[in-house]
């Protein structure tokens, strides 16, 4: 059964504002896909249709864009998508152990979603937190750095209780010099 999707009046106003940032309406595709995904949790073909119709663009074009970029969910995902960075800095700091621990804990494999629709696990490419490896990102939003099994256990518990992680500022470390 297909869900019906629509934007609210406020969202349509927001879309107008987005369009005004660019000389051509087509540039609004990515930000409006983001807006749609934040609202609906994914951009499946029905949502893509809504975005295309709202912007007056061919549906094929919006589909082409949505399928090019990995952060857009083309199907329903878990409420919390755990994107574990697997690129080299995280790799050599234990990313695979983190993925295995998550798999055991949640009873699913990488690439799958739990039956209750709460969690998905994905191994993704470099997230730009190389000095804080291993790490993961929760549903395209907050980074959780310096992962350990204990930290993962705590995260899963918190998420089950509806408590999302806070932004972790990773401070710049200044070299201690003899004269400072």
């Amino acid at each position: 059964m297909a869900d019906t999707y629509e934007f609210s009046k406020e969202e349509l106003e927001q879309i107008e504002k987005i369009k005004s940032k660019y000389p051509e309406v087509q540039s609004a595709v990515m930000p409006v896909l983001w807006l749609a995904q934040d609202k609906f949790g994914h951009v499946d073909s029905d949502v893509q249709k809504l975005v295309a119709d709202t912007l007056g663009l061919p549906r094929a074009h919006v589909h082409g864009v949505a399928t090019f970029y990995t952060q857009y969910y083309k199907e329903k995902m878990g409420k919390y998508v755990l994107d574990v960075c697997g690129s080299f800095s995280c790799q050599v700091c234990g990313a695979q152990e983190i993925i295995r621990h998550l798999e055991e804990k949640l009873g699913i494999k990488e690439g799958e979603t739990t039956e209750d629709g709460m969690f998905s696990i994905r191994e993704v490419e470099c997230l730009g937190a190389c000095g804080y490896a291993p790490m993961l990102q929760v549903t395209n939003d907050k980074y959780v750095n310096h992962l350990t099994k204990e930290k993962i256990d705590k995260l899963i518990e918190d998420l089950k209780a509806g408590k999302e992680p806070e932004f972790e500022s990773m401070p710049v470390v200044y070299h201690q010099t003899s004269d400072s």
Binding site: K21, Y22, P23, E24, Q26, S27, A28, V29, M30, P31, L33, W34, H61, G64, V65, F68, Y69, T70, Q71, Y72, G86, S87, F88, S89, Q91, V92, C93, V124, E125, C126, L127, G128, A129, C130, G131, Y132, A133, Q137, N140, D141, K142, Y143, F167, S169, M170, V172, V173, Y174, H175, T177, S178, D179
Partner: protein, 428 residues
């Protein structure tokens, strides 16, 4: 020169609390460079470009091209719009430096954009930031909003006749969008397929109009050049690759992180003095100095090697983004290179056949060898695949995928051979 790095005081991400707040930035001399330019007749757009060119800020996104020179490629204004795209895609594995500017010194970057916009007569600046950096995009949006409120952005900036707008644009997970023409396609709301050059962005960029693309860190260097002069800038680090650099160091070191020091730092100083040495006091197997696409070098060649274009060329590698990965002696280098090949296979946009197919071949071959299923002849096949990819595609992603493989097979041959089956082909 590099010897006095210990007394160097950071200028891109200085140790000033709350510098990300516009008032604090102003109190610490912020926005003085743009004020100087807008009030002093000496600073016409040509003078700004000359000064920046003279400073030789080498692009911090990886290519290392003189930023002022790039600016000088912009054609004369013809009345139509002109654009600056600031590249904060930052997706090269090992690279996590621009986020420090977004979080800790966004106004320095905005001021750099203002100076660039003034010099090149830009109408709008688009700050392209990778979609995963949602928090950092929010920080930039806030900084831009504050700059508008204070009259540093928008119409008639500081009551002059100079006007420019600035917007952020979120990516959505595509490494290729850090390639400048792909970034423009993405900003135009398309799949991020790199464009054929020529025409170059300065001739035909965003929406067919003259456009310059600079890295975030590159632009953050600009206000200091205007405030202190090109000769001051060139007094930092090596003559041929001057200025401060944000070194992002990860892997097997005790204190990984982003550190600001002059260009030309010795790799060994970065590892042992800055990062507190290798974890567990182990030896060093390899260094990947500037992101996944820069060729790995052996730990036994790094003594005395400096992090700048010339120093790294001598040992057959590149500066890239200065996002350096340190691998200890127990690292399985074949496993690391396999993961790099996985990355490029995943991130190839699929537009050019040699890259679309070649990155898959490299990954499959690397996996085969990594799993102990490879044969010695697969090592030759890897090189053969590289030969058929390099220089045969629209953008440099195919080359970037080949360099780590090609160089690793050559430089760590014994590790590859150790994983290969010693098949003997009997002649019947």
């Amino acid at each position: 020169m590099a010897q006095d790095w210990k007394s160097f005081k950071p200028v891109l991400i200085p140790n000033i609390p709350d510098l990300a707040k516009i008032d604090v930035y102003e109190k610490n001399g912020g926005y003085s460079a743009i004020k100087k330019i807008l009030t002093d007749d000496k600073w016409d757009s040509q003078a700004v470009i000359s000064e920046v060119k003279e400073a030789n800020i080498r692009g911090r996104g990886g290519a290392g091209f003189n930023a002022g020179m790039k600016w000088s490629f912009m054609p004369e204004p013809d009345g139509g719009p002109r654009y600056l795209a600031a590249n904060g895609d930052e997706s090269e594995p090992g690279t996590f430096k621009d986020r420090k500017i977004f979080e800790f010194n966004p106004h320095l970057f905005i001021e750099g954009c203002l100076i660039a916009a003034y010099a090149m007569k830009i109408d709008a600046v688009y700050v392209y930031i990778r979609g995963e950096y949602r928090e950092f995009i929010n920080m930039m949006d806030k900084a831009i909003e504050d700059a508008y409120k204070k009259g540093y952005l928008g119409k008639n900036i500081l009551k002059s006749d100079f006007s420019v707008d600035m917007y952020t644009h979120s990516g959505a997970g595509a490494y290729i969008c850090g390639e400048e023409t792909s970034l423009m396609e993405s900003l135009e709301g398309k799949r991020g397929y790199p464009r054929v050059k020529p025409p170059f962005p300065a001739q035909k960029g965003l929406w067919g109009r003259p456009t310059t693309i600079n890295n975030i860190e590159t632009l953050a260097n600009v206000p200091h050049v205007i405030n202190n002069g090109a000769s001051w800038y060139k007094s930092i680090g090596p003559e041929n690759h001057p200025g401060p650099v944000l070194y992002g160091i990860s892997g097997h070191v005790n204190k990984p992180g982003v550190y600001e020091f002059p260009a030309g730092m010795k790799i060994t100083d970065l590892i042992h003095e800055v990062c507190g040495g290798v974890r567990g006091n182990k030896g060093i197997k390899a260094i990947i100095p500037g992101g996944a696409s820069t060729p790995p070098i052996r730990g036994d060649v790094i003594d005395g090697v400096t992090m700048d274009a010339d120093g790294l060329r001598e040992v057959g590698t590149l500066m890239g983004t200065a996002g350096m990965l340190v691998l200890d002696e127990d690292t399985d280098i074949v496993d690391v290179i396999t993961r790099i090949s996985h990355f490029f296979d995943h991130e190839s946009c699929g537009q050019c056949t040699p890259c679309r197919d070649g990155t898959g071949w490299l990954y499959k071959l690397m996996s085969k060898i990594n799993n102990g299923e490879g044969e010695m002849r697969d090592l030759d096949l890897l090189i053969d695949v590289c030969n058929k990819m390099e220089g045969r595609t629209i953008c440099a992603l195919a080359d970037a995928a080949c360099w780590p493989v090609r160089n690793a097979v050559e430089r760590f041959r014994e590790d590859f051979e150790a994983k290969c089956k010693k098949t003997v082909y009997a002649v019947a």
